[in-house]
């Protein structure tokens, strides 16, 4: 259920603009890895290139190689939809499908995969909602619109939707930045449970959050505006936050810049 991700020399562009340059890092299975760094340093871009969502934007492209258990996801023969099914993504703002009920939202991915049997969908929906710690709150109103939930519930609904298709990896792009502290705590608790099954990579602006939830932390930064983002330091979270190896990392986590 979880796989190793290896990025080597990943460089991503928006048109002519180089957003990240030569990122090399390895993410171990069943861990939580946090990507931190100042705004515009390319951590979200890197995250989006892991499930090939970067190239959805017009003019965007990725160079270098990204392998999942030794399979290059940017290989010419690879089906991009299969990559995205294997590597799920949770976005910054909760984005349940507004026209769908809670139930339909959770099983949307399964329906895309051609699952039609009601019993299978029911079972998968309950399992995903339980994993997302949302089942007890919504089990009596599965037919109600997903957009009617609170922000925190919506984000957990989106997590349920993502894990319902049983991906290997779950990417989270600042999943708590639009949420209040209590909802944030619920999502963080959830991450602890989810890492038993999935490899999780999370982009966050909240350094306490990175320290709380992650096993490994990658610090990205840029020299100045317009320069590509680079990976400055990548190590165990404890080490990064207690004894970083690079001066720039220390400056960032102690709040001296960024």
């Amino acid at each position: 259920m979880a796989k190793r991700i290896e990025a080597s020399n990943v460089t991503a562009y928006y048109g002519a603009f180089k957003a990240i340059e030569n990122i090399n890092l390895t993410v171990e299975p069943k861990t939580v890895t946090a990507l931190i760094g100042p705004s515009g340093c390319g951590k979200s871009t890197f995250l989006r290139s892991i499930n090939r969502m970067h190239e959805v934007l017009p003019g965007a492209r990725v160079e270098g190689s990204l392998t999942i258990d030794d399979q290059d996801i940017y290989d010419r023969d690879v089906d991009v939809t299969a990559v995205r099914r294997m590597i799920g993504m949770v976005f910054q703002r909760p984005n349940p499908f507004p026209t769908m009920s809670i139930f339909e939202n959770v099983v949307a991915g399964l329906r895309l995969n051609g699952v039609r049997r009601k019993s299978i969908l029911d079972e998968a929906a309950e399992r995903a909602l339980r994993s997302a710690n949302l089942w007890d709150e919504v089990k009596d109103r599965l037919g109600k619109p997903g957009a009617g939930l609170s922000g925190g519930q919506q984000q957990r609904l989106c997590i349920a939707r993502t894990i319902a298709v049983e991906p290997q990896v779950v990417l989270m792009d600042e999943p708590c930045s639009a949420l209040d502290p209590i909802s944030t705590l619920a999502i963080e608790d959830l991450m602890f449970q989810l890492k038993d099954k999935f490899t999780i990579i999370i982009v966050t602006h909240n350094m306490q959050q990175a320290a709380r939830v992650s096993d490994r932390t990658a610090f990205f930064s840029i020299e100045k505006t317009g320069d590509p983002g680079r990976l400055i330091e990548y190590d165990n979270t404890q080490k990064i936050f207690s004894n970083p190896g690079v001066k720039k990392t220390e400056d960032y986590i102690t709040g001296r810049f960024g």
Partner: protein
């Protein structure tokens, strides 16, 4: 607030510059002008520590604008009522003079000494030609709209969108001329072909002549409503939140699956509205159909034989030589057309309304 007249009198009395408008409800515009004066007599104990509150103007841009909008709103009601009264007053005598059943008689001879006319065939022709036109136009229009919003390169999309809007600007009489002089030839050939090979299906049956048929009228209508439906639904499709499109893609959807999961459900009320607008235009279309239909007065599902007529086309064709009763009969047919359009619009609203719970929380 330097423009209020009372300010200078109380210039030194206090800094409270609260406008008087706040202590009355926003809707209460009619207010006796002299009432507040007593509370703010110069020198008296006013509200703001010295009676320094400026007085509301008895007449200003605010009230003028309110009166203007009220007048505009009332005018609509007055005009509608006037039209309704006129239509009914003219229609009733003609309907009384009718010697046949207005709903079932297939024919239109209101100018005879014994007036005979019936709306059935016309109403049937109106609904049939419009429904057929939509059946042809909607899939094409939605296809074009989706191509423009989600597949075409941006530049091509803009150019094509402009062309489509241009199509909407062509006057209907031009469509009519083109339909009866040019487009009729391929349609006639196609009709003959359909008749030869599919003549066993009643709608393609008969033995001619072909040409100025419901098929031709509906095809011309379809081209005329195409731009409305296309540009409206394209507008709706481009408004789909990027977040929802990305959510679908991130679940492993192909582009078409993304459109089915995120774009079409989101745009559904808009699509319904666009189709209904197109239907409204098709039902009311007059001159193009008057020129392309065969003008007969019988109820028939045959699509390719010369024939067909609609309420609006019949009004255009026969109004010129109508006498008093004839005009009354045409006005009565206009009322029926109005009723059909009303029913269509109410149905559309009901469809949009039904899943309100879902569409509203989307906003």
């Amino acid at each position: 607030m330097g423009e209020t007249p009372h300010r200078s009198a109380h210039a030194g009395t206090g800094g409270t510059r609260v406008t008087e408008g706040h202590d009355r409800p926003a809707g209460a515009s009619v207010r006796p002008a002299e009432a507040p004066v007593s509370t703010r007599t110069p020198g008296g104990a006013g509200l703001g520590g010295g009676g320094g509150l400026p007085r509301a103007r008895a007449f200003g841009a605010e009230r003028a604008f309110r009166a203007l909008t009220l007048a505009a709103g009332t005018a609509v009601l007055v005009i509608i009522a006037a039209i309704a009264v006129f239509l009914v007053a003219k229609a009733v005598p003609a309907l009384r003079a009718n010697t046949e059943n207005f709903w079932t008689f297939e024919g239109w001879f209101p100018n005879d000494a014994e007036p005979k006319f019936g709306i059935g065939a016309l109403a049937f022709g109106t609904v049939l030609s419009s429904a057929l036109a939509l059946l042809i136009a909607v899939p094409v229009a939605l296809g074009i709209a989706l191509y423009l919003s989600h597949y075409a390169p941006r530049r091509l999309g803009t150019a094509l969108g402009f062309l489509i809007d241009l199509l909407a600007a062509v006057p209907s009489v031009v469509f009519g001329l083109w339909g009866r002089d040019v487009f009729i030839n391929p349609v006639r050939d196609f009709s003959a072909w359909l008749n030869t090979y599919f003549g066993w299906i009643p709608i393609f049956g008969g033995d001619g002549p072909f040409g100025k048929s419901i098929m031709l009228g509906a095809l011309v209508l379809a081209i005329m409503v195409l731009p409305i439906i296309t540009s409206l639904s394209r507008e709706v499709f481009t408004q789909t939140p990027t977040a929802n499109e990305e959510a679908a893609l991130a679940l492993g959807a192909t582009r078409w699956e993304m459109i089915r999961t995120a774009v079409l459900p989101y745009g559904r009320p808009g699509i319904v509205a666009a189709v209904m607008l197109g239907l409204g235009r098709a039902l009311g279309e007059t001159i193009a159909l008057a020129m392309t239909l065969g003008i007969t007065f019988n109820i028939s599902f045959n699509l390719i034989e010369s024939g067909g007529n609609t309420i609006a086309a019949n009004i255009a064709n026969t109004f010129g030589e109508a006498n008093d009763t004839g005009r009354g009969a045409l006005i009565a047919s206009g009322l029926v057309l109005f009723a059909i359009t009303l029913i269509v619009n109410i149905t559309a609203r009901a469809i949009i309304h039904r899943r309100r719970e879902f569409t509203e929380s989307a906003a």
